[in-house]
């Protein structure tokens, strides 16, 4: 929650002593509100005011960093309950669980598969975020060995899972510099785990399965020891308890500004379900409803791709569709006699069409009109994709400068525009393409003559 200058001013000494470099306390407060100077520049703040200001300056849900360098992810930091109110900013980390009870070879193979997984959507590349390594064997040495091997082959954001401080200590010695999430401080081990997390500068998960009150108590103890980067595990595993707890935690943080719940939450959908499909559905629920880190037990492209797509959907700014720059785009290596296809600048639409053209036998020109980021029919219905606009774009992008013909392929959904377009662009031939981009290749084969 950010404060206004006037709110901050109330906490200042109001002596206008100028030590901070400003003529008055109020002037200083204004600069603090703009975040252009730190509150600590005033030497005369009372301890009480300092604490009140610091806690007010902290976001209601802590932003927690997991991992080191450019591989790190940031989770938490959300400020609203519903995405239409603003945006959800920090997509939940999707990490894959490895158990040290499985043969090392098998685990490393899995690591290789996961680390090599990369899928494209609307021109962006998406991957799994990292691994959760569990000390399932109970053997500290086996745990440390697996952690070391993963840290070496795939230095990514990690969750280290063990209830044994000794095992955790050994694992952190192997991978502490990757700033893994230490999972977890419990009522039994919290003091040791807190020390370990502190010593390695790692975020710490706090787990209490017996009610939010116990969890809050434990969080306070851990926070008192100076740990700021906390992740919560309230213990609910199935659909209902997960939804209930994650909603309650989010509300406690945002509505009540209740500090001990002001952290991202880690979930384990595989533990509340009995098979892959079920796990992926629960993970989907958790993407939509408030998870910060999701530990998946199953990994396969047919789960990752839809989950990554859902995450992208839920975490895009609801006010601004992802857009392309309007213009004439060469797809493949188009020549003067190549087809010219017309589409919108909604990036989902663009990539659907560009993708099909790329895999067709026809290098083509794709003319992307400015529809303010709307899809074909939405833009048409909103009056932002009509014959006039298409004709204008044809001139603006100087299509005749790139090709030696006068033919345009328009989306099948816009068949009604054909007549009007032929009037607007006299001498041009308007071909009505298929409705779905998937059929473009076949269409061009049949209808395009160079």
């Amino acid at each position: 929650m950010s404060m206004t200058g006037v709110q901050i001013y109330k906490f200042l000494p109001k002596t206008n002593c100028k030590i901070c470099g400003f003529p008055t306390c109020l002037a200083f407060a204004m600069k603090v509100a703009q975040k252009s100077i730190a509150i600590t520049e005033c030497p005369d703040l009372s301890e009480e005011s300092k604490m009140a200001l610091e806690s007010a300056a902290r976001p209601p849900i802590q932003l927690v960093t997991m991992g080191a360098d450019e591989k790190k992810i940031e989770v938490g930091g959300e400020v609203v309950m519903f995405r239409h109110e603003k945006t959800f900013h920090h997509p939940p980390g999707l990490v894959i669980r490895l158990k040290d009870s499985a043969p090392l070879e098998e685990n490393l193979k899995r690591v290789e598969t996961v680390a090599g997984y990369e899928v494209e959507r609307v021109g962006m590349m998406f991957t799994a975020d990292g691994f959760a390594i569990e000390n399932d064997s109970g053997d500290g040495a086996a745990f440390a060995k697996l952690v070391a091997a993963v840290a070496e082959t795939a230095p990514s954001p990690l969750v280290l899972m063990s209830s044994q401080p000794d095992a955790m200590k050994a694992a952190l010695e192997k991978a502490g510099t990757l700033r893994p999430l230490v999972y977890a401080a419990t009522a039994d081990n919290w003091s040791d785990m807190t020390e370990l997390a502190k010593a390695h500068g790692c975020p710490l998960a706090v787990a209490a399965g017996d009610g939010l009150e116990n969890l809050a108590g434990l969080v306070e103890q851990v926070a008192d020891k100076g740990i700021e980067n906390i992740v919560l595990d309230p213990g609910g595993r199935d659909y209902l308890s997960s939804l209930t707890q994650l909603t309650q935690i989010r509300r406690l943080a945002l509505k009540n500004n209740f500090r001990p719940m002001g952290y991202p939450v880690i979930t384990f959908p595989g533990e509340g379900t009995s098979n892959t499909e079920d796990e992926s559905m629960l993970a989907g629920q958790q993407v939509a409803k408030y998870a910060g880190i999701i530990v998946l037990d199953h990994f396969s492209p047919s789960i990752m791709y839809p989950l990554l797509t859902l995450r992208l959907n839920i975490y895009t700014d609801p006010q601004k569709p992802i857009q392309m720059q309007p213009g004439l785009y060469p797809i493949g290596n188009p020549k003067e006699d190549s087809p010219v296809c017309v589409t919108t600048n909604f990036s989902l639409t663009y990539f659907a069409v560009a993708g099909e053209l790329e895999s067709s036998a026809f290098p083509s020109w794709l003319m992307v009109c400015d529809t303010e980021g709307l899809s074909v029919l939405t833009a048409w219905a909103a009056g932002k994709f009509d014959a006039e606009r298409i004709a204008k774009a044809t001139k603006e992008f100087n299509i005749t400068g790139s090709v030696n013909h006068q033919r345009l392929v328009i989306p099948g959904h816009l068949a009604v525009l054909r007549g009007e377009l032929e009037e607007e662009l006299s001498g041009w031939d308007i071909l009505v393409g298929p409705r779905e981009a998937v059929d473009l290749g076949t269409f061009l084969k049949k209808r395009w003559k160079g």
Partner: protein, 314 residues
């Protein structure tokens, strides 16, 4: 230990309860909740969301391979198809009168009557009847369906701004429920509910279809508009308090991800698995944003999503 006071919203509104079927036919009630989806700690959710399976009146030849395989020969016969759909767990049948579409056969009232009767005969669950989404044809075949199902409390859709009068009137005459469909816009949805109410339709005879975008194809818009409609309803706006119906199967199975096995990246995974996940994850997301009826296409999705709903109901 710090005292934890769970914030509970004091909603003043409640979703209207809408009953389908009855009179010898199984009865399904949707709506009635006075809180957000599945938040039992805050309010009451008297009726679980229900799953419908889409059945078409003519064989859907262009459907994706996994669907054709799962259903097999019953796709040729809507009555058999509906029967099988009930066996695999559908609580409702959503019969799409596709063949009435001018480009799909342009059949008329007679055929609609015949198919609706045969499906009503074949199953004992309530029926949703959907037109081909061409306003004049919708009027023609939905009026016929309405007569064929008189007294069975069907849900008839879709009403749009263009044709709500005819469909609303026939629903009133024959005791059915009308489905108003609007394109992902809260004010349009509300406006259509007002228009239908002005015709004399009571609040317990209306459903709304907010228009579904599939995962990756507009889901984010549908999701948010549904949340906003639901929040408005709980805030006390009776004209946005209608239970919501989402055509998840139709949208999910239309997308390339659910249709194409060749020429797509390996990172998409094999077609059948990927396609099923596409439908399931679209469904689970929209359950979180307030769907009361979800229309699906694949039999195994019904089982999976039903099991999730059962657990969400506690």
């Amino acid at each position: 230990m710090p005292a934890v006071e769970i914030p509970v919203e004091k909603w003043s509104g409640k979703i209207h309860e809408v009953k389908l079927g009855g009179q010898g036919r199984k009865e399904v009630v949707v709506g009635g909740e006075n809180t957000l989806p599945f938040l039992h700690f805050e309010g009451s959710v008297p009726n679980p969301p229900v799953l419908a399976i889409e059945v078409q009146d003519s064989e859907p030849r262009e459907w994706a391979e996994p669907l054709l395989q799962a259903w097999g020969d019953v796709l040729k016969d809507p009555a058999k198809w509906a029967k099988k759909a009930v066996e695999v767990g559908a609580s409702l049948i959503a019969l799409r009168l596709k063949s009435a579409h001018p480009e799909e056969g342009n059949t008329g009232a007679e055929e609609a009557k015949r198919v609706v009767s045969s499906v009503l005969e074949a199953v004992d669950v309530p029926l949703v009847v959907l037109g081909p989404e061409v306003a004049e044809k919708d009027n023609e075949v939905l009026v016929a369906a309405s007569e064929a199902g008189r007294g069975q409390r069907l849900a008839l859709g879709n009403c749009e701004e263009k044709n709500y009068r005819t469909i609303g009137a026939t629903c009133l005459a024959d005791g059915h429920v009308a489905i108003g469909k609007t394109p992902i816009e809260i004010n349009l949805a509300k406006q259509l509910n007002i228009l239908l109410s002005d015709l004399g339709m009571s609040q317990d005879s209306l459903l709304m279809d907010p228009t579904t975008g599939a995962l990756g194809y507009g889901l984010e818009y549908t999701y948010s508009v549904m949340e906003r409609l639901r929040l408005a309803a709980l805030g006390g706006d009776k004209m946005t308090s209608m239970p919501m119906i989402c055509t998840v199967g139709e949208e999910a199975w239309r997308q390339k991800e659910a249709k194409t096995s060749e020429g797509v990246p390996d990172t998409w995974g094999p077609l059948t698995e990927r396609a099923l996940r596409w439908e399931e994850i679209t469904a689970i997301s929209l359950l979180q944003s307030g769907a009361n009826i979800i229309v699906l296409r694949h039999p195994s999705t019904v089982e999976k999503v039903q099991s999730a709903i059962t657990r969400l109901m506690g």
